[in-house]
């Protein structure tokens, strides 16, 4: 283990590390644009300069191997001078249109400028202009003027998603990041990760474009339910203290964007595009009104009616949600598991392009919680016992029901069948509660509540206990 010294401080480094990596691992501040821990070294931004003690010049730290006894300075006058110069040159042709740029507030260039330079440009010559709103497809937009040519996006498509979808055209200060002309970028299932790793506002998400300033938003950790990988994500929504004064309350309870939550055990710093579109999944029209055969009732009335049905049933069958959390599954098993013949239903069936397995993250199973439901109940084969007299349908999915059976539906999203159920109780969705999923490798990840649920909506976890009689609970224990 080589010992190095950063600004006089003794650091135990790994022999495979570079000075920049050793600095980052030990909390030493060294700015950088083109370096990324998951990508190859480019060494092109020239911002991570350090000075080896005794030398009269600076060198980049991202490509400097550690060696025993190496002494570097990250804050000498020479380093500061050159670092400020590199930032000045990075900004030379940058449009500085932060006023209309989505990245403002989370922009590395902004942060570094104020921290390490702070001076206005001394150039009196016109900036080089380039394309401003270049569509890299329906999901990502590129502003070449803001681009600092760090090549992170190009390296991402080459090394991580392996689509080779991005490259750099031309040369010099006319260089332009461009997608390959065969549309490979639009087909890249991980394309939106380039928006995260772009240090500036050059690559932006089109669904988030001009939607909200990031300082009005906060992220809540969650888990993507799109497949059995269970990538951890950040669900962004407006901060309470910055809520919009609007007539429509939905504006303050919507998902503004979804980004990865770095997780070395599951997804690293990436998610697939499907995870970015979770708002489309979570914000479908909700079913919020408890009903008895289509007639609105209070939640208490619906629960009481359901409890009666459960108590009276002789052959109750439950179709358990494959999107249920560990806690919900355990609660169901504890309260109703003994009474009901339970089967795990596929809430979502894969449609074309879905349900694939690839070299990176995606799994063919279309639900987030692999192990928990199937550890306790068998998979549903699609048919129901014709003599079942009560079917509890928990979660989404179309089900053909036996004649004469009573039906209790627990669901969150509007569908016509809910009005046909004997009892319909609306239940909360993932973003309205805390819970955990276990992915296909057995890794458990937690999601947290982002939004409050509506009053008439029940939490399935508490609901199951309420549906069971005392003897049911004792039997299940």
């Amino acid at each position: 283990m080589p010992t190095i010294f950063i600004d006089g401080r003794e650091i135990q480094a790994d022999k495979e590390q570079t000075v920049l990596e050793a600095a980052i691992a030990n909390g030493c501040e060294l700015p950088y644009f083109c370096y990324h821990p998951a990508l190859s070294i480019a060494g092109s931004c020239r911002v991570c300069v350090v000075q080896v003690e005794g030398r009269s010049w600076v060198e980049i730290g991202c490509n400097m191997p550690v060696s025993d006894g190496l002494r570097v300075l990250t804050d000498s006058d020479l380093v500061r001078e050159h670092r400020a110069a590199m930032l000045e040159l990075t900004l030379l042709n940058h449009p500085v249109d932060c006023g209309i740029c989505d990245k403002a507030g989370e922009c590395t260039l902004q942060d570094y400028h104020y921290k390490y330079n702070g001076k206005p440009s001394v150039s009196v010559d016109a900036k080089v202009h380039a394309t401003k709103y270049h569509e890299l497809g329906p999901r990502v937009i590129l502003d070449n003027e803001r681009c600092i040519l760090c090549s992170r996006c190009v390296r991402f498509t080459r090394e991580i998603s392996k689509t080779n979808a991005l490259g750099i055209q031309q040369r010099g200060d006319h260089s332009l990041v461009r997608a390959s002309e065969d549309g490979a970028f639009e087909r890249d299932a991980y394309s939106d990760n380039v928006v995260d790793i772009c240090p500036v506002g050059a690559l932006l998400s089109r669904s988030f474009l001009h939607r909200a300033r990031v300082w009005y938003l906060e992220p809540t950790p969650s888990v993507c339910p799109g497949c059995a990988r269970g990538c951890t994500v950040q669900v962004w929504h407006r901060k309470q203290e910055w809520k919009l004064h609007a007539l429509d309350p939905a504006k303050n309870t919507r998902i503004e964007r979804v980004t990865p939550l770095d997780n070395p055990k599951v997804n690293g710093p990436w998610i697939c595009n499907k995870g970015r579109d979770l708002a489309k999944v979570f914000e479908r029209p909700r079913a919020l009104q408890p009903m008895l055969r289509g007639s609105p009732v209070t939640l208490d009335a619906a629960v009481a009616a359901a409890r009666d049905l459960v108590a009276a049933a002789k052959r109750p069958v439950a179709l358990v949600s494959s999107w249920g959390s560990n806690e919900e599954i355990a609660a169901f098993a504890a309260s109703l598991g003994a009474r009901f013949a339970g089967f795990v239903k596929q809430d979502h069936v894969a449609h074309p392009g879905d349900g694939v397995e690839d070299h990176l993250l995606r799994r063919p199973e279309n639900h987030p919680n692999c192990a928990a439901p199937l550890a306790r109940f068998p998979a549903w084969n699609g048919t129901l016992d014709p003599v079942a007299d009560l079917v509890l349908v928990w979660g989404e999915g179309s089900v053909r029901l036996p004649e004469g059976a009573k039906v209790i539906r627990l669901d969150s999203y509007e569908r016509p069948e809910l009005a046909d159920a004997d009892v319909f109780i609306p239940i909360s969705i993932q973003t309205e509660r805390n819970g955990r999923y276990t992915n296909f490798e057995g890794v458990v990840s937690a999601f947290s509540r982002c939004f409050a649920k509506a009053d008439a909506v029940a939490d399935a976890e508490a609901l199951f206990a309420a549906l069971a009689t005392r003897s049911d609970r004792e039997a299940a224990a």
Partner: protein, 160 residues
């Protein structure tokens, strides 16, 4: 289903080129192949890009990048004669700027343009490595050296 685009390079020639290089050097063939396509066809067509990438087993974007990085590649047809005048230091010191003006005047076009009859495309280039015989003009692939203003007319007239 459309047929796969066939490269202008005869497959026997491509195979010979491939075997000339060591194993594992298929990527190195990008530049020589693009040059050959251009020799045969005058320019590299859009369809050639994917076909070449497939033939060599490289990413398509690599071929696109190479085409735009190097100055000698063209993705569109140009005039029958490409007249490229060096305007770097030694050539400028021996009158290249006046040679360029004379060419523009004689052909009636500006630098970067092609004569209406498709005969000549005029361009300026950087140092050609022939500074001792400046000014130097590259006509298609040949160097024409010691080009003075007085020899411009004769040179351009000789390009049929």
């Amino acid at each position: 289903m459309t047929a796969d685009h066939i490269l202008p390079i005869p497959s026997a020639e491509l195979a010979a080129l491939r075997s000339r290089y060591p194993a594992g050097f298929a990527s190195s063939l990008v530049l020589p192949c693009l040059r050959r396509i251009q020799e045969l066809q005058g320019f590299v067509a859009d369809e050639d890009i994917g076909a070449l990438a497939t033939a060599l087993g490289v990413a398509r974007v690599q071929v696109e990048e190479v085409l735009s990085f190097y100055t000698q590649y063209r993705r569109e047809a140009v005039g029958r004669w490409q007249v490229a005048v060096c305007r770097n230091v030694s050539c400028s010191m021996r009158g290249a700027e006046r040679v360029i003006e004379a060419c523009k005047h004689k052909l009636g076009i500006d630098v970067g343009e092609t004569t209406p009859d498709g005969r000549v495309t005029l361009s300026t280039v950087e140092c050609l490595g022939s500074c001792g015989t400046a000014p130097v003009v590259m006509v298609n692939e040949k160097y024409v050296e010691n080009v003075g203003v007085e020899s411009v007319d004769g040179l351009l007239d000789s390009l049929k």
